[in-house]
Symmetry: C2
Subunit: 204 residues, 2 copies
Amino acid sequence: MAHDRVYRGLRSRIMHGEIAPGQALTLRGLAAEYGVSMTPAREALRRLSAEGALTLSSSGRVSTPELSNERIEELAALRSLLEVELASRALPRAHMALIDRLQSINARIAEDIVHQDAVAYIRRNLEFHRTLYLRAQAPAMLAMAETVWLQLGPSMRALYGRLRRKDPPHFHRLIIAALKAGDEPGLRLAVRSDVTQGLRMLAG
Amino acid sequence: MAHDRVYRGLRSRIMHGEIAPGQALTLRGLAAEYGVSMTPAREALRRLSAEGALTLSSSGRVSTPELSNERIEELAALRSLLEVELASRALPRAHMALIDRLQSINARIAEDIVHQDAVAYIRRNLEFHRTLYLRAQAPAMLAMAETVWLQLGPSMRALYGRLRRKDPPHFHRLIIAALKAGDEPGLRLAVRSDVTQGLRMLAG
DNA sequence: GCCGCGGATTTGTGATCACATGAGGACATG
DNA sequence: CATGTCCTCATGTGATCACAAATCCGCGGC
């Protein structure tokens, strides 16, 4: 179970933007940090590279990726593609209890913004999306969406760290409104906008 | 480079349906087969499980997945989503040379059908799609599509093994025709049909 | 004939080690 | 002061091993 602990810990840190792009990771360093030997550390790194969360240099050195603008736009397009579909599939199953939970997550996002806590903001933003998509009953599709989040993780921090906003995300409210109204086209548009909005700024 | 050899070999075998669903793989068995020690064999298996090509049992045992019908339908939906987008992006860049290559691949598919060679058929069918999608200049999206192919690999064999057809795939010709005509809606429909066709039969 | 139990063996896990390679810095030279 | 070279050390790779757990097989009881 040792490699799993390393994997989960690292994955969470990467996805939530706690590691800067270009940061190098060493086997022995990680092993020491998690109190394990090199073997499970290596497995965790390999797995994360397989998922695109880390890049291997030619010499086997591993680091978090520094994404080009083209790559960021492509990943944003993927998010849009996958998440619009997930939201659309979740819509018919979205009851009031789900909408309440989404609203409470949204309220917490507002708090994170007040506290200027970029990592917490990213984490809760993803929680908002995941909570909705879980209702789609499409595990493979959700897994792919999470893989995209993972790849964008390090760059996300650069984005939300720089943009100092005061208001909770506008499009989250649109998403909730569309869910309440059972408005599928509106939901698709709201999700696409929410997903694309920040990343367009990052790439530009 | 040892683990890479194991990884590539296994990945190819899985993607092309050379391994039956539910087939168990052992670390020592693989290591012996590829003439390496357990370490690189384990890395290859871990990486393939991370990509969804293999499933880990609770005890760490690894085997190729036996997909449920729901899962197959979900993966088919993913293929449709991703590949329609890839084809659409490739369309403006599809010149005559590409169409020629697609036609020649199609001709070889016809030969494979004559020889009743299921594995060769699957391999060339994927080659047809990959050749087209390469033109989309969207590496992350193509990688995701290939991951889906990988997950469907073992089940593909069950499909193409059972269906004893005589004609080359009809939808491939529609794809080529749409490419020639620059007909984007037609291309989207043709790709969606091609991707969904066989798998619907498998799930049903 | 069928089910449960127990031991032998297969199998995955993680630690450790020897080795090769590549990165980075110090130092001399222009 | 810049640059190239060499050396050292950090780092990834793969093999091997001890261990634990799970599986498998056969035997005995009902």
